[in-house]
C-alpha cells in the first residue's frame, strides 16, 4: 500500500492539446480519491498517466516513495478497472483473474488460491470456467474487480467502472466497491462524472474542469464550501441557485427592486454572485423576499419549487409535509447558508 503524489503533473497530447494543466495532489495511503468532472475535462487522461498508459509530459508522479514516470504499467504494481471491463474474451473467468499473477511468476497453487478467494468475495464461484461473453454486465464488472484484487496491488485505478450498468446495479456495486476498498485498505483513484458516486464513495474529491483542478476536499467541504461557481453548480442535484445581485449602497439587490436581507461580502465590485442550495432556503417569511413559483416537481421524499426571484431562475426544495402552491410565495434566505462568488472570476468570496 502506498501514497500517491502528483507534483505539477501535466499532459499535452501530440496534437498540442493540453488535456491536464499542472496538477499537484497528494493521495494519502489507503484513501479513496474520486476524480470528478464533466465529460472531456481530463479525468481519464490523469488516471491513465498514473497507470502508465499515457506519457507524463511534465512533472513527477510517485507511488510510495519511487518516482514512476518512466516505469512500465506492469512495473507500477497497480490494478485498473476499465469502463468496458476490458476482459480477455478468449480466457475463462479464472484465467482472466490469474493472468497478471501468472506473468509475475506466481506458482499455480498460489494463483488458484487467490482466484478462489476473490471468487468467494465477489460471488463468482460458479462462473470460474465461463468466458466473459457468457456473463451478464454485472458479472463482468465483478470479474474486472476480481482481476484487480487478486494482484494485491498498491493502488487501484477505476475509470468509470459503473457507468455501463443499470441504475439499480450501479447503486449496489457502488456500495460493494466502497466496502471492499475499505476492507482491503488499498489506496484508490476513482474516476466518475457522476457527482452522486463522488459524494458517496470518496474520502476526498478532486473536481476537474477543463484540465484544471478546481477544488480538492472531502465531500462535506466540497458541498459546504465550493471553491467556485463551477464546483457549486456541478456538485449537488438539484444544483445550487446562482443569482447576480447588484451592490447598491451596501445593500444586495436583485432585479432592480428586491432587496436581499443579507450582509454583503467586502468586495470592490458593484455586483456579486449569490448562491443558495435549494434545501437551505425555507418557505415562508416576512414577505421581503418573494419567490414566484411556476412549477412544482414532486420527488416523493421532497418537492422542488421552481420559479423566479427578482427575474432570475431560482429553485427551492421543501419537505413532503409542507404545503406549496403555484404563485408568489414568501421565502427566507438564511444568512449562515449563503455562498458569495466573484461575478467575473467565479471564485468564492
Amino acid at each position: 500500500m502506498a501514497q500517491v503524489t502528483l507534483d505539477r503533473v501535466r499532459k499535452t497530447y501530440p496534437n498540442g492539446f493540453e488535456a491536464v494543466q499542472p496538477c499537484s495532489v497528494e493521495i494519502p495511503d489507503g484513501e479513496l480519491v474520486v476524480l470528478v468532472g464533466p465529460s472531456g475535462c481530463g479525468k481519464s487522461t490523469l488516471l491513465r498517466m498514473i497507470a502508465g498508459l499515457e506519457d507524463i509530459t511534465d512533472g513527477a508522479l510517485s507511488i510510495g516513495t519511487d518516482v514512476v514516470n518512466d516505469k512500465d504499467p506492469a512495473d507500477r504494481n497497480i490494478a485498473m478497472v476499465f469502463q468496458n471491463y476490458a476482459l480477455y474474451p478468449h480466457m475463462s473467468v479464472a484465467k482472466n483473474m490469474g493472468y497478471g499473477l501468472k506473468n509475475r511468476g506466481a506458482s499455480k497453487a498460489e494463483i488458484d488460491a487467490k482466484v478462489q478467494e476473490a471468487a468467494r468475495i465477489l460471488n463468482l464461484g460458479d462462473y470460474l470456467d465461463r468466458r466473459p461473453s457468457q456473463l451478464s454486465g454485472g458479472q463482468r464488472q465483478r470479474v474486472a474487480m476480481g482481476r484487480a484484487i487478486v494482484r494485491d496491488p498498491e493502488l487501484f485505478l477505476f475509470d468509470e467502472p459503473l457507468s455501463n450498468l443499470d441504475a439499480k446495479l450501479r447503486n449496489q456495486m457502488r456500495i460493494e466497491i466502497r466496502a471492499l476498498q475499505q476492507r482491503l485498505g488499498v489506496t484508490s483513484v476513482y474516476v466518475t462524472h457522476d457527482q452522486v458516486e463522488a459524494m458517496t464513495m470518496a474520502d476526498r474529491i478532486i473536481v476537474l474542469n477543463a484540465g484544471r483542478v478546481e477544488q480538492i476536499g472531502t465531500p462535506t467541504e466540497i458541498y459546504e464550501r465550493p471553491a467556485s461557481t463551477f464546483v457549486a453548480g456541478f456538485m449537488g442535484a438539484p444544483p445550487m441557485n446562482l443569482m447576480t445581485a447588484a451592490l447598491v449602497s451596501g445593500q444586495l439587490q436583485v432585479g432592480g427592486e428586491t432587496k436581499l436581507p443579507l450582509t454583503p461580502p467586502a468586495v470592490a465590485t458593484d455586483e456579486v454572485l449569490v448562491g443558495y442550495r435549494p434545501e437551505d432556503v425555507r418557505l415562508g417569511g416576512d414577505g421581503s423576499v418573494v419567490l414566484d413559483v411556476q412549477i412544482i416537481e414532486e420527488l416523493g421524499a421532497n418537492r422542488l419549487l421552481h420559479g423566479q426571484l427578482g427575474g432570475q431562475a431560482f429553485s427551492i426544495s421543501i419537505g413532503k409535509d409542507e404545503q406549496a402552491q403555484v404563485g408568489p410565495q414568501p421565502i427566507t434566505l438564511p444568512q449562515d447558508r449563503v455562498h458569495f462568488f466573484h461575478p467575473e472570476r467565479g471564485t468564492r468570496l
Partner: protein
C-alpha cells in the same frame, strides 16, 4: 413479425434461374464432363474416345512426373502460404502501432492487390530479367547463378516471391482490420498484466486474431494451389521444359498442349476432390470455432 413472401412459386424460381443456370453451365456441367472424360482415352485427333475405366487414374499414380509435380505443389503452397501470412502479419502489426498512418498504408498496399496475376507475372519477369532484373542482379551479387526459366530452383524461387508479393496486401488488410477491432482497453489491460511485449502478442493479441488468421489460411492455400496459374504461366513463358509447375498448371499443359484430355480430366477430378476436402475442413472448423463477442 410479418414475413415478406412471394404469392406464387414462379417468381422466385424465375429470379433464381439465371444464377442457377450460370452455376450449372459453368461449374457443374464442366465438372461432370471432366469426371466422365477421365474414364476415357481420347483420340489425339479428336475423332473418338475409348472407355478405359480407371486407367487414367492408375497411370497418374504410377507416373513419377506426376508425383514430382504434386510434391512441388505441396512445398510451393506451404511456402507461399507461410510467407504471405507471416510477412503480412508483421506489416500489419507494425502499421497498427502507427494507427494514424494505417489508412495510407492500407491504400498503398491495396494497389498491389488490384494487379491481375499475369501482370504480376510480367512485373516478376522484369524483376527477374536475365540481363538487368534487379532481383537477378541481387542474387548474382550474392553468388547465385540465377537463371529464370532455365534453372529449376531459380524459377521456383521467382514463382514463390511473385506469388507472395501479390498476396501480401489481401492478408495485410484482413490482419490490420482484425488488429484494429481488438478493443484498445483489452490491450491496455494486458499492458498492466504482462510486461513482456512478445508475451502480450502471443497470449492476447494473436488469440484474438485467430479467427482472421484461420480464414486467411484457407484463402491462401486455395490461392497458392489455384490462383497462381497466371503468375506461373508468365514466369515459365508457357514453356514448362525444365521448370517447376503446380498441379493446376499441369492439368492445362497435359490437356491442351499434350492433348491428353483423359489424363488431364483425371487430374482435374483429383483437384476437385482436394477442394472439396478443404471446404469440408473449413466448415467443420468454423462450426467449432469460438465466436468472441
Amino acid at each position: 413479425m410479418k414475413r415478406a413472401g412471394f404469392t406464387t412459386v414462379w417468381l422466385p424460381v424465375a429470379l433464381l434461374l439465371p444464377q442457377l443456370m450460370i452455376i450449372a453451365i459453368f461449374f457443374y456441367w464442366p465438372a461432370a464432363w471432366a469426371v466422365q472424360s477421365s474414364f476415357y482415352l481420347q483420340d489425339p485427333f479428336g475423332f473418338g474416345s475409348t472407355f478405359v475405366g480407371v486407367e487414367n487414374y492408375t497411370d497418374l499414380m504410377a507416373n513419377s512426373e506426376y508425383g514430382k509435380v504434386a510434391r512441388f505443389t505441396v512445398i510451393y503452397t506451404a511456402l507461399v502460404t507461410f510467407f504471405s501470412l507471416a510477412i503480412a502479419l508483421l506489416l500489419a502489426v507494425k502499421a497498427d502501432k502507427v494507427i494514424k498512418g494505417a489508412k495510407s498504408y492500407r491504400t498503398l498496399l491495396m494497389w498491389v492487390y488490384a494487379i491481375a496475376p499475369p501482370v504480376a507475372g510480367f512485373l516478376g519477369l522484369m524483376f527477374f530479367d536475365q540481363r538487368n532484373g534487379p532481383m537477378t542482379e541481387m542474387f548474382q551479387a550474392l553468388g547465385w547463378d540465377f537463371r529464370l526459366g532455365a534453372d529449376y530452383n531459380s524459377t521456383a524461387t521467382a514463382m514463390v516471391i511473385v506469388a507472395v508479393w501479390k498476396q501480401i496486401p489481401v492478408n495485410f488488410i484482413f490482419f490490420l482490420s482484425g488488429l484494429q477491432s481488438i478493443p484498445k482497453s483489452v490491450r491496455e489491460a494486458a499492458l498492466i498484466d504482462n510486461r513482456s511485449a512478445s508475451g502480450r502478442f502471443w497470449e492476447v493479441t494473436f488469440p484474438l486474431l485467430a479467427p482472421t488468421a484461420f480464414f486467411l489460411l484457407i484463402i491462401n492455400i486455395t490461392y497458392a494451389l489455384f490462383d497462381t496459374f497466371g503468375i506461373i504461366d508468365t514466369l515459365v513463358r508457357s514453356e514448362p521444359g525444365n521448370n517447376p509447375v503446380t498441379l493446376v498448371y499441369k492439368v492445362f499443359v497435359d490437356g491442351f498442349r499434350g492433348n491428353d484430355l483423359g489424363g488431364s480430366s483425371a487430374q482435374s477430378v483429383i483437384l476437385m476432390v482436394l477442394v472439396l476436402l478443404l471446404t469440408v475442413f473449413q466448415f467443420r472448423l468454423i462450426e467449432r470455432r469460438i465466436h468472441y463477442t
